[in-house]
Symmetry: C2
Subunit: 215 residues, 2 copies
């Protein structure tokens, strides 16, 4: 468990083609300026060497604003980059094994999509969970069925650690997701494919304010 | 650099489908009884969790005979299994980064296929190199062009660390490969797809004896 206080409010996940995408760094930089609080480097493509090179650039970009960099899936890459944390899924190495590899200080996130998985989360091992997909999503292959805002609210209420809703979250839907009782929202396409990632991030943060206003 | 004396004479590489293959453990056990001296767990398929489960079984199998287990590509998996080493390619994390992650004691192997790559090997970081493909191979996707026995001999002569020839090595071709001046031979299909892996291993070791007899 990390001892740092992490702000999970607006969690940006890079798109799967990000290792090849021109302008990745510029869009992340704009998104961070717009209010993104955590960045996850996710990709399904590229050699480990390419991931490493892109990851180094991302890490350097995020050090100054102090935004945590979390690496998806690849624990070795997270260690190689000295990233702030790693995010794994149910099919990856078991969370307790990952914790042993990364040590006590780094952030460990875990994807969950049902009550059994949320119930199995060990809060002494895992720092936060992703819950989803909330809505249908094209940005992740082989995703489980979407759970909707009500399903998210039910799981978030049982989460023993901070949680972020993920999957198909757009600017329009963001306020409803925040209102479901999550710590934050994780956004892929709505930031990575935005014409102006900074503006998109500000709109998403505004949705958080709106949800809080209602609560 | 590991301080252990590793016998690279007959280096078995599991086939890419091994994580799904019934009988994997039995064939590895038979191959070890027949004279295999190192086993590399290589696979292109399966979730990290499946690799971990299969890897644990392989590790337990190899502990008793004291045969080193080397994990291909996945440094995190090698650490999770507490394997004896890891083998990476030119497109993986840089060797010096991998060495930092695995510590001083574990074995680090690197794939090479030309003079530039062999010349760039840092003997203070890398324990051994694979050189190949010697012959055309179906068991590795996107392999570089095959270098032949003469090409292997030329590279082996420049290797600053122990080297194993790899790629399309059969029982029939083994003696010629050993005679090229390598420390050992790495074999995929000729062991993994053998009807009797023990017998195949014994035949490969006999080829080593034959090559030595000639030298």
């Amino acid at each position: 468990m990390t001892m740092k206080a992490i702000d999970y409010s607006l969690y940006m996940v890079t798109d799967i083609a990000s290792v090849y995408r021109r302008g990745l760094l510029a869009s992340v930089e704009a998104a961070v300026a717009g209010g993104v609080t955590v960045v996850q480097f996710r990709t399904d493509g590229g050699s480990k060497r390419e991931l490493y090179e892109t990851g180094l650039a991302l890490r350097d970009l995020l050090r100054r604003p102090g935004v945590p960099l979390i690496v998806n899936d690849h624990v070795d890459l997270a260690l190689a980059l000295d990233a702030d944390g790693v995010h794994v899924g149910q099919g990856d190495l078991p969370a307790e094994v990952v914790r042993r590899l990364i040590g006590k200080e780094k952030i460990l996130g875990l994807s969950t999509s049902n009550l059994e998985q949320v119930g199995a989360v060990d809060a002494t091992v895992v720092d936060y969970i992703g819950i989803g997909p909330v809505f249908p999503t094209q940005s992740k292959r082989n995703a489980p069925p979407d759970i909707g805002v009500d399903g998210l609210a039910a799981l978030a209420a049982r989460a023993p650690v901070p949680c972020v809703g993920i999957g198909g979250i757009t600017i329009e839907r963001a306020a409803a997701v925040y209102a479901a009782g999550v710590t934050g929202i994780a956004v892929v396409s709505a930031l990575s494919y935005a014409d102006d990632a900074g503006e998109a991030a500000r709109a998403l943060r505004a949705a958080q304010g709106k949800a809080k206003g209602k609560a």
